[in-house]
Symmetry: C2
Subunit: 453 residues, 2 copies
């Protein structure tokens, strides 16, 4: 890259002197395609004519940026917490005010109450299996919890360097964090031919191979899956837990899409619940960290950076170290904590905001379910595109070409396969926009096949 | 530490297997004394009788927790951004509404506008020296920016491992981050006998010594200082810049207390401004990152985790890497970004909120100034305690004992010297509470001296 004007050959911080791990970090979500899209959007705004009139972003999981409406109750409580004079305002419902009073009180006393509310939420979710608030760590989005847990796990050098198993296709936070920490990424491949399910034999294969060059310590699971939209069966989760126990792997369960389940017959099972239902042989032994967030599900509030992690069977001394580590970064953002509290402690049937809340939540999830099945249907109508059912989360990961014929076509076209051989796309754009996106993909694909056949 | 119930000798994550850098992190702000204080507070709340009736926390710089009032305008804008229905509410002033509209618009388009507003703020602050919005990175509080910059700087092994110079006494984020990154901490001591000023000869000494065992790459300055409350003179800043240029050190200027200057004759000079006033020989060469935050000054909004850093003369390729690195963690919390925007773009003289805003800001800073001089005065009245003027920031770092006689007393008492030989304390408690704290210290000190003399 050229430097404007003066020469800086003698800089302190250069590509040669900088932290080499940072260079290894790859992060496609803000990569060249996105930058090009931003540029095109700017050009359109400037009035430059193009063969299209708008850029519809289907790359990131920011629900509100895609037009999904925030839940009214949550935003009312946040406004009340930001500016407590509004507690006198008769336009706010009483239950929003009482939540806000409780949160303001709690914040001035530390975050104990929010952790307790999270624990009660987990207990309700998991059919009564107890949750100790001392096992709850509030975090700056799930990302923060995930990176912190990975950081704790990484040690050793050479063949004893920590290896961490992650699924491919993956959510790029994982590979980026592992590169940044200098840990070894152990890739296991999800089974595209079986609705992107997780295959224990593939876990076994990846682990055996990795043992030759690193020390595998942890297994990361995303369920429901990003970017592949699959929801794991209870059986699969049991198998994973047994595998982790047998192979002595620390389990990390990324469950930020726990409310995003759409497909007939699919159901969300938390790793915690399954672990405890498997009895003390597992529930007293397997180390588990699970992550949740205010960014996804029907909330979609990724701007507030709220989240938590629950740790199970963590060594008490390690737990002390974890507490110390999170303290150094000071607390997660308070608005995110307040939001998390109303998410885990939403309006109850006897409260004035209940009906609106339920309606908004139901509508949001129903719209997502509609878009999930629409996406899958339209894409599968295109000859040569194969798209698994979007069982959950907010994404689809379709593929162009079911046979090697298409691979040859890609090569003939001189384009890089990964740009459009398989690709991730969100189902988040509003229904009308999503239809446009899907129609454009169909058109592009047919044109491409004709041109290069 | 004992484990309740079952034995977990076979855990994956233990003190032996965990990341060794995490163990090295020390963080006193949430350490044993704070934990004891929390416990005592709980006992008092439970009605347990003690020789005192309350716990007054003078350990952390959380202004609002200490009773300082948030600025009305800021909170109004935040409430409006959280719950835009309030834009119809006649109780909110028009300028707060127009700011909120602007921010809501900007957020949906990305953070470009906020970075531009920050750049304009820096230009006004620095008497017109230009600031390029492309050099501004929004961060999750200043902490996040500091840790990110340190992370970029760390590389090498053995004697070529990166060393970073930090002041002692220090703000514990720095030592903690360096330990976590496995970098070498190079301590330079502030001169207690000269109002905690920075002495270039001491920098030189520390650097020469460090060169034997590491590769010094960066120099961190906190101005105004935490925990020591000093404000650097323009001359001192020039000397530091010359030193950094001569020794090829990357400068990190932590300026989160830039509005907190109280002492007659003290004035805040930004490193950026001084650097540019020293001419192109320096301003085109010295690499500088400076940090600011919504947590301190008259804002005191540490719960929102808003902040930014400005980078100067960063290698363009390194800058690209930095952009990538911050993208991995997704964006800083949106409410913090919104807050930062109103902080750098506050009410103007022709706007309805201006008078209240100025009054609140002035009152807050005047109260801090009053507490700064009160603290220094009362402590210096105690024979055997020496307290430098609190020129700026929100802290004092007094010392018990001006002669070795007191050191012997500490030893005779069997207590650890660092617990109370010198100690940091905030000036944040409300005036009445601060008086109680200071009286208690006086009493304790006199009692202690009598008992052990
Ligand atoms: C699987 C998965 N985990 C974690 C995250 C990060 O969530 P947060 O916004 O809570 O940091 C995402 C966000 O897209 C995700 O898809
Ligand atoms: C010198 C200094 N730098 C940085 C910080 C961190 O500030 P923030 O809350 O913006 O992360 C503090 C907070 O006390 C501080 O005193």
């Amino acid at each position: 890259m050229a430097q404007n004007g003066c020469e800086h050959s003698e800089r302190v911080l250069t590509m040669d002197t900088m932290n080499p791990n940072v260079k290894r970090v790859e992060y496609a979500v803000r990569g060249p395609i996105v930058q090009r899209a931003v540029q095109i959007e700017r050009e359109l705004n400037m009035g430059i004519k193009k063969p299209f009139t708008e850029v519809i972003k289907a790359n990131i999981g920011d629900c509100h940026a895609m037009g999904q409406k925030p839940i009214t109750f949550f935003r009312q409580v946040l406004a009340l917490c930001s500016y407590p004079d509004l507690l006198e305002d008769s336009k706010f419902p009483e239950d929003a005010k009482s939540r806000a009073r409780r949160i303001l009180q709690a914040i001035s006393q530390g975050i104990e109450m929010i952790r307790q509310d999270v624990a009660r939420y987990i207990e309700r979710r998991d059919g009564g299996i107890t949750c100790d608030p001392d096992n709850i760590y509030l975090s700056t989005g799930a990302s923060d919890g995930i990176v912190t847990m990975l950081k704790l796990l990484v040690s050793g050098e050479g063949v004893s360097r920590t290896g961490v198993m992650i699924s491919i296709p993956q959510y790029p936070l994982y590979s980026a964090a592992l590169a940044d920490l200098g840990a070894v990424q152990i890739s296991y491949y999800l089974d595209e031919d079986n609705c992107w399910s997780l295959d224990i034999n593939e876990l076994r294969r990846a682990l055996q191979e990795a043992k030759k060059h690193c020390s595998p310590q942890a297994l990361c699971i995303i369920n429901p899956g990003n970017p592949t939209g699959q929801v794991q069966s209870r059986q699969c989760i049991e198998d994973v837990i047994r595998f982790a126990a047998a192979e002595k792997l620390f389990l990390m369960a990324d469950e930020v899409y726990q409310d995003n389940v759409y497909a007939e017959g699919s159901k969300f099972h938390s790793f915690k619940k399954v672990l405890f239902e498997m009895g003390p042989e597992y529930s007293e032994k397997v180390e588990l960290a699970s992550f949740h967030s205010t960014s996804k599900c029907y909330m979609g509030e990724c701007g507030f950076r709220g989240g938590y992690m629950e740790v199970i069977n963590l060594d008490p001394e390690v737990k002390f170290q974890l507490t110390k580590l999170v303290s150094v970064r000071l607390c997660p953002p308070v608005p995110g904590q307040a939001l998390l509290d109303v998410v885990v402690n939403p309006p109850q049937p006897d409260e004035p905001s209940y009906d609106t809340f339920i309606k908004e939540r139901t509508d949001t999830l129903a719209t997502l379910a509609e878009k999930a099945s629409m996406t899958q249907e339209i894409l599968n109508q295109v000859p040569g595109i194969k798209c698994n059912p979007v069982q959950g989360a907010m994404y689809t990961f379709p593929r162009e070409g079911t046979s090697s014929r298409y691979v040859l076509l890609y090569e003939a076209s001189g384009r890089k396969r990964h740009l459009f051989g398989s690709w991730q796309m969100t189902i988040l754009p509003p229904v009308e926009k999503l239809k446009i996106v899907l129609a454009k993909i169909k058109e592009f694909h047919q044109h491409f096949v004709e041109q290069y056949s």
